[in-house]
Subunit: 226 residues, 2 copies
Amino acid sequence: MKQRILYIEDELILGQLVKDALEKHGFEVLKVINGSDGLAMFKKYRPHLCLFDIMLPGKDGYTVAEQVRAIDVHVPIIFLTAKVQATDLVQGFKAGCNDYVRKPFHMEELLLRVENWLAVKYGIETPQQNNYIIGIFAFDPHKQLLSGKERQIRLSHKETELLNVLCNYKNTIVSRDYILQKVWGSDSVYNSRTLDVYINRIRKYFKDDSHINLITLKGIGYRFIC
Amino acid sequence: MKQRILYIEDELILGQLVKDALEKHGFEVLKVINGSDGLAMFKKYRPHLCLFDIMLPGKDGYTVAEQVRAIDVHVPIIFLTAKVQATDLVQGFKAGCNDYVRKPFHMEELLLRVENWLAVKYGIETPQQNNYIIGIFAFDPHKQLLSGKERQIRLSHKETELLNVLCNYKNTIVSRDYILQKVWGSDSVYNSRTLDVYINRIRKYFKDDSHINLITLKGIGYRFIC
DNA sequence: GTAAAGAAACCTTAAATAACGTTAATGAAA
DNA sequence: TTTCATTAACGTTATTTAAGGTTTCTTTAC
C-alpha cells in the first residue's frame, strides 16, 4: 500500500514540483492549498505524514499542525519555511515528531527527511512497548490479557486492538475516525454502533478504578486517562 | 537523571561552545575528538543521543555511526556537517533515527533538534496537569470536571474548552473571535449564537459564587473575574 | 450637550438535530 | 456449543439552531 502524504502549499509551481517528485518516489500525495482544506483532508484520509508550508493564506501551518496534533499525537509533521529565526523554529518543534526544511531546499533533502521520518515512525518496529500499566491493571496486548488485582481478564481480539490504541494515546485525544481506521480498517463500520459497544466494554473493565477514565469528546473522539 | 550526549568534534573552539551550551541546558556531555574514542565511549556510557561531526581525523562520522548502529539501532544520531551535497546526505540518513545540522548552525537549532529527538525516542513527557482554582471550585480540564464544595459537575467537551480559555485569560480581556478560534476553529459558527449559549451555561455554574463574574464587553469580548 | 430612535450585539429559553450509550439479539466462526 | 463480532432498537446527552427579548452603543434632531 502506498504511503499517503498530506501536502499543504499555496505556491502553485513549487507545489506541483514537489508533488511530482513525491509521486515519482511512490507516495500518494494529497495536495491542498489552504489550512482548512488540509485539516479536512487529514481527518478524512489519515495520511502517514504531513508536509505543511508555514506561510499560508488564512490559517498558517503552525495552527493547522496544532489542530492535527489534537487528533493524532504521533503523525510526523514537516514544515516548509522561509523563516530562519530560531524563535520561529521553537513553535515548529514544540510537539515532537516534527521537523522543518528551510526554503529554498534541495528536493533530495526533502525526500530524505520524508523517508527518514516514515522509517522512524512506521518502518523500524516501534519499540513495541509490549506491556502497559493501567492503574492497578497490567495489560499485555500480545497475550490479550488484562490482569487486575484479583482476577485476570482474557480480552478478545478487537477489545485488545482497541485498548492498545487507547494506550498508545493515553492522556491525549484520539479521534473516533482514527480508532476505526486502526482497529476496523476504514471503509466498513462507519455507520454502525460497533465501536460504541466496545468502548462500553472497556469502560466496564475499568469501572471499579475511579482513577481510570475514558472520556467522550463528542464529535471528536476519546481521551483515555490513566 | 541527566540525559547523556556523546559528542565527537575535532574543532576545539566550536567543540567547547557546543559543549557549554548543551550543559547549560542540563545535558551531560561526553566530548571526544576522534572516532575511535567515540566508539569506546559509546560502548561504555551508552548515551541517549549522539552528535557527530562528519569530517574527523581517521574514521569519519559516518563510519562511527555505522558501528554505533550495529550496537544500537534506536539511538538518535545527529550529524554536524559542512557538506551540502545531497549525495552525502543519503549516507547520513540511511539508518533512520538520524538527522543532520548544516554548519554553520544556530545553537538554538541544534538544541531544538536534540530535544526533539530525545522527545521522539524517549517519550514525550505526559502533558502537565493544568488545574485551576476558581473561587471555591476546582477545575480539571483534563478530566472535564468542575468540583464545587458539595457537588461535582461533569462538563462537556465544549464547556471544558471554553472554560479553559477563560481561565487562561482570567482577569483580563479575551475576545470573542479568539474564543471562537480556539474552541470552534474559525471556519464555522461565526454567525451563530452557539457561543452565547455556552457562555450562559458557564455563568449558571458559577452563579452562586458572587466573587466569580463573567463580564461582557460588548463588541470586544469577555472578562472572567475570579 | 441631550433625548429619542435605530441598530448592533448579546442573552435566554426551548426545540431540533446529531452523536454517542446501552442492552439484547443475531449470526458467524472456531 | 461456545465465543466473538456485529447489528438492531431504543435511550441518553451534547451541540446547534431558532426565536424573541434585553442591553448597549451610535446616530441624529433639537
